[in-house]
């Protein structure tokens, strides 16, 4: 399954990171990898909130992903 990281950077530099399609605890490892590389590039990202997605939300996202795949196949 496709793994996606969507990062929204607001006007004041605050960033929100959405991890999509990561099985199990792998998103936590990737979050650590990302913030580590950012730090080495000079961007220190201090966590404000970390919200684990509930099962329902993950199911909705997986459904949307499946729909996108079907659309691509249809084309």
């Amino acid at each position: 399954m496709t793994r996606t990281i969507r990062v929204e950077i607001s006007k004041n530099g605050r960033i929100e990171v959405d991890f999509l399609g990561f099985p199990g605890e792998t998103c936590l490892d990737e979050e650590e990898n990302l913030t580590g590389i950012l730090k080495s590039l000079g961007l220190w990202a201090v966590p404000i909130t970390i919200d684990r997605k509930d099962t329902e939300r993950i199911r909705r996202e997986l459904g949307a992903e499946e729909e996108r795949r079907k659309e691509v196949k249809a084309e």
């Binding site: 929204e8 605050r14 960033i15 991890f19 199990g24 950012l38 404000i48 909130t49 684990r52 997605k53």
Partner: protein
Amino acid sequence: MSLISSYKTDIRLTQALSEGKSVEEDPGWDILHEAVWAAADEFTGEVSHSVKDFYGRTFYADWAISTPEIPRGIGINVDRKTGQVMFVYDSYGLEGYERRIQEIKDRVLQNYSAIAVSKALSLLNYEVDVVEEKHATGGKKVIVTGVL
């Protein structure tokens, strides 16, 4: 499991310093250069290496952005010992200057964040796409998407 996390950000160029190199060799130096030039362009400003104070005295800066609204300029300096990025300016006697200065500071940080996030995702082998959404009231939102 997947997650959503939010962070406040700060620029500190410490990588090269930790390896005993000069701060100019830090990977963040080029990112900051790019972020400053992009911010200047977005505010129809110019980049130089000096700012002026209320008395007209000139001070050196690693980069300085001046715009029609900020004629004295705002300087961006990197501390050679700590890598901390600092903004220098003199707003004395000018109304609305602080707000305009804050807009420039925010834009430099936003541009820096967008460039750094794009580079980081590329280093993690993601295919990266960047979209900028302009706000009607000014400013912008940047969305960086990495797909693996």
